[in-house]
Amino acid sequence: MMDLRDLYQDIILDHGRHPRNFGPLPDPSHLAHGHNPLCGDTVTIFVRLRDDRIAEVSFEGKGCAISTASASLMTEVMLNKTLAEAQALFAHFHTLATGGATGGLTGGAPGLPPGLEEEGDRLEPLAGVKAYPARVKCATLAWHTLEAAVRGGGTVVKTE
């Protein structure tokens, strides 16, 4: 039996119960809604971009511990990142959570540009989800929604 603690690490439970950056931004420059039709979970991501940099980011929604913790950790690591850095973190996270569906030779931290190592480490607790295929979408929902928000805004994203 896979240890449930690999998935539900203390940091996940903590962020699940006490999400950081939770609640709407008063005046976001970008926003998107995400939705997992299989379980009904929803998330809204609020972003204020300034000069191609994520000056503020927050989220709101109803979800499980995994999706809430993933969104919360995401907002922490994304704060003050340039869009290019955000893209690199997204790719890194995707590999982490899915076991490498987007490529990357190592399971660990493929292609994280120098300077983002610390952010990579902070996302590590989310790696446990890849052993739970039915839950991967819980972890990726907020990330896909953020991507949609900064790319255009206003789109409804879904993960299935």
Binding site: M1, M2, L4, R5, L7, Y8, L13, G16, R17, L38, C39, G40, D41, T42, K62, G63, C64, A65, I66, Y132, A134, R135, C138
Partner: protein, 424 residues
């Protein structure tokens, strides 16, 4: 509860013994192959007894051929078995005649058939279809699609504070414009028994026809469509211990006779020229193309299996286990039941403070307890109850109090993992 259900004489088990889930479980190979499995998702789909699995295989080995058109012996045998399955279903539902049984893929296809064949032919703009807040998407979306196509109205009967159908509100919503009432017999989220006899009486008094969705009822209680006097009744084979791919639309013969066909093809025609085609009578008119022959035969075997146990015995078992599960879950601090005020059959929805149903399901799975977490294809009901998702445990003939004990233990384990035990 007995006022809500059709009573039939108690059917003794084939072996004359008591209803013992431990013994019954031995007839289900899945439990041998998956030792330790606590399967509490029968409402989504039931496991299959060896009688069905082996009977299906045996049919393919000995009697298989296409039906209805062959002169040779194998085809005659196959046809006889297929039509015997239709008779079997008619007997099981106490239909007046086997010609009132239309084989479909499942309840969903049955409802779509009624919406697209009966609905398109008989409904006019302004007519109303009345459903309830308890419905599965399968009994909502086909009517919405029809609404958007025809300009009819979809009216929704609310639930009461206890999570059951509000019968008084329902009665007030009936008008001469109500042409069809489409309602579940047993609710798939809550296990709640809907007082369908009253629903049918009230609807008929108003001139409306009634479709009952028996997906969760047929596996759990004796159903008598003639006593119910409903116009349509649908259910899915895979939820009552039968194979996937097969289900039933029952309709009164006069109703079927008045309906145009829905799908065109082989077997449903009488004569075909490019200029004009004439159609068969019911039920063939509604069964275009090669049917799921093995599925129908397998469904017949599943009904044999259930009747062998006795539907009254099954109902009593499901009711008792449901009551027990409700009590056992409520005894755990932090657990809330959803829509469990009225009589319930085979299904318990619940929530655990501080743990999302999705997390519960994952944690339970690691304890070999299989439940469902989510909206259970009933998003409008979720919205009405103000929840995003629930955890749902549901029972079958192989479920017993040990399964409930495992469920409760899994809840406690989840609470420990989430550090919630000391909170109380």
């Amino acid at each position: 509860m007995s006022v809500l259900i059709q009573e039939r004489p108690m059917v003794a088990r084939a072996d004359g013994g008591a209803f013992d889930p431990v013994v019954i479980r031995r007839q289900f190979p899945v439990f041998e192959r998956n030792p330790g499995l606590v399967f509490l998702d029968t409402a989504a789909s039931a496991q299959k007894p060896a009688a069905v699995i082996d009977g299906l295989a045996e049919y393919y080995r000995t009697d298989y051929a296409n039906v209805h058109r062959g002169v040779y012996g194998l085809s005659a045998r196959s046809t006889a078995r297929f039509e015997a399955a239709r008779e079997r279903v008619a007997r099981f539902l106490n239909a007046a005649d086997a010609s009132e049984i239309v084989f479909v893929r499942g309840a969903t296809e049955g409802i779509n058939l009624v919406a697209q064949a009966w609905g398109l032919a008989f409904l006019k703009p302004g007519d109303q279809v009345l459903v309830s807040e308890l419905e599965h998407h399968s009994n909502i979306v086909p009517w919405q699609m029809l609404r958007d196509r025809l300009g009819i109205e979809l009216v929704v009967a609310p639930i009461d504070a206890g999570g059951g159908l509000d019968l008084e509100a329902f009665a007030h919503l009936l008008t001469p414009r109500t042409k069809l009432v489409a309602m579940t017999h047993v609710a798939n989220v809550t296990g709640g028994l809907v007082p369908v006899e009253r629903v049918v009486d009230l609807a008929h008094a108003c001139g409306a026809k009634v479709l009952l969705d028996g997906c969760q009822a047929v596996p759990r209680l004796p159903v008598d469509v003639r006593a119910l006097d409903c116009d349509f009744y649908v259910f899915s084979g895979h939820k009552c211990y039968g194979p996937t791919g097969i289900g039933v639309l029952y309709a009164k013969r006069a109703v079927l006779d008045a309906m145009p066909p829905w799908q065109g093809g082989g077997d449903m025609i009488r004569t075909v020229t490019f200029a004009k085609t004439t159609y068969q009578d019911a039920p063939q008119r509604f069964e275009a193309g090669t049917p799921d022959i093995a599925g129908a035969i397998g469904l017949g075997l599943a009904l044999d299996f259930m009747d062998g146990l006795g539907m009254a015995a099954i109902r009593d078992h499901e009711a008792a286990l449901t009551d027990h599960a409700r009590d056992a879950l409520l005894a755990v601090p932090g657990v809330t039941l959803i829509g469990a005020d009225g009589p319930g059959l085979g299904v318990v929805s619940f929530q655990v403070d501080g743990i999302h149903p999705h997390d519960l399901a994952t944690i339970f799975d690691r304890h070999d307890v299989a439940i469902r977490a989510g909206h259970h294809c009933a998003q409008p009901l979720m919205d009405r109850l103000g929840v995003v998702a629930t955890a749902r445990a549901s029972f079958g003939v192989y479920s017993d109090e040990d399964d409930v004990a495992a469920l409760v233990a899994a809840v406690r384990a989840a609470q420990r993992l989430f550090g919630l035990t000391s909170a109380r």
